[in-house]
Symmetry: C2
Subunit: 285 residues, 2 copies
């Protein structure tokens, strides 16, 4: 695997060495935290479920009044070239679109598009087989449907997470759970129904895939979930592009189910891994 | 006045030409919109009320777990040197502190400090004598007490402001007003009591000064204000470092008071201008 020093990035319309990729400080991301992004997992050198991620990236841009400076086919080409240049087998491809070089430091202008690719380490088998502890926090994201670059709350909570020995923070507002800063949330009820929140969330691509996979084995529901229900669930897990499915065994010191990753969770993880492999195979054939 | 091409900025510990000031894209402002800032007005080459702004800047940094890489006296020196290098008579000095070059794109590290200075145009006499129209929007900032760089909501509302012919947007939540994206809010009641919101706001330096000045002439109150009260006020105005005091004559198509800037508002503006001049004189003597 090439070291980060040998990686390339897309910046100001060109593929250049990552260590030279920069923005002038007048960019609205620096001045006002204004931008959107998306993040695609690359396996065997191929971006997985790319069209879904591109759909969401263009949608996020539209919500924020930003125009992606490349057409979808141009963007696909850049992603392909960058992936070839970097030659990473397992990686995360991140596209960031900022408010651009603003003259008055407030009004968006021609958006700046950055694309970087970094090696990705998937959760260890040990972590998956043990499950993780999470905490909850009273919050709902400002524009949940937009993958904006604003992670102020999540980042401010890093220290608290560490102090409490939790790995992730689940946002809860008025007793209803929504999502993690970077992951979606699922529970499995006593009767094996798989449930995931319907509103005030970013609509994750992995969430969508897992929901489809779950539909093959179990009853599924997409609706508001109260924290009370969560604490009585048989299983709980999170989904994300980089983490796939991670079993949750403890929430705010309450043990979930048996305190160990459950059967439904682990079956769905296996299904997801197979779906990803299928996606790669299709693209390679 | 020098053109922007001849201006200097503080970046990576040095005073360099502004057009060369940049951040590597791994900075957490770019990756996660994570950072704080402050903005000082410079008159006759001197930063006004600097200690108040420095207090707030260090406080904002502390709230976000960021460390300003300069001591207060070092920062004062840099501000002085930059001001001398740029030679601007009336300007805005902006200090931005970001989450730094993060290896994992999420965890804050050594903060990056940027300082820029740009010419400042104060509101025209015509605008002050006419007053402005504003709109309201249902929102409260995430961390109102912190001058974070997150202006997602304010910036997303720019188009709506233009369409409605309004100049600023006043945030209202559960019927209680708080602040504008970049300004504080005041009303003057029928009995000449001057009132400004107490909570869910950034504590503006100009707000503080105006509150003190108002106390010399009128009864003052710092408390929650309902939108209903606002619409029945005799006068309304906003305060900010760059705008000083701007009379508000219309809110969401409701005319405030006589529909013209009121006597209290204009008297306080005169008082504020005198206070600023006094601050400059003291520093020059």
């Amino acid at each position: 695997m090439p070291s980060e020093n040998n990686l390339f990035a897309y910046n100001h319309g060109q593929i250049i060495p990552l260590d030279q990729a920069s923005l002038h400080i007048s960019d609205l991301a620096v001045q006002r935290g204004y931008g959107v992004f998306d993040f695609i997992k690359v396996q065997q050198g191929l971006p997985l479920f790319m069209e879904d991620y591109l759909d969401r990236f263009y949608q996020s841009a539209g919500h924020m009044g930003l125009e992606v400076p490349l057409s979808r086919s141009e963007l696909r080409q850049v992603v392909k070239k960058l992936s070839e240049a970097n030659g990473l087998e397992v990686a995360g491809m991140k596209m960031i679109l900022t408010g651009g070089y603003s003259e008055d430091g407030y009004t968006p202008t021609d958006a700046n598009l950055l694309i970087t690719q970094l090696p990705l380490v998937l959760p260890s088998e040990e972590k998956v087989s043990r499950g993780i502890s999470i905490m909850t926090h009273d919050y709902v994201r400002e524009f949940p449907e937009v993958k904006s670059i604003n992670y102020t709350m999540g980042i401010r909570l890093i220290t608290q997470l560490k102090n409490r020995g939790a790995e992730e923070v689940l946002y809860v507002k008025n007793g209803v759970v929504s999502e993690f800063p970077r992951c979606n949330f699922f529970i499995v009820q006593e009767d094996d129904t798989v449930v995931t929140p319907s509103s005030n969330i970013l609509y994750g691509i992995t969430r969508k895939n897992v929901l489809q996979l779950a539909g093959r084995r179990y009853k599924t529901e997409v609706r508001d979930i109260t924290l009370q229900e969560v604490l009585q669930a048989k299983e709980a897990f999170l989904t994300s592009t980089t983490k796939r499915i991670l079993p949750i065994v403890k929430i705010d010191d309450v043990v979930i189910g048996s305190g160990k990753p459950g059967n439904a969770t682990l079956s769905l993880l296996q299904d997801l891994i197979e779906l990803e492999e299928l996606n790669v195979k299709k693209r390679l054939s």
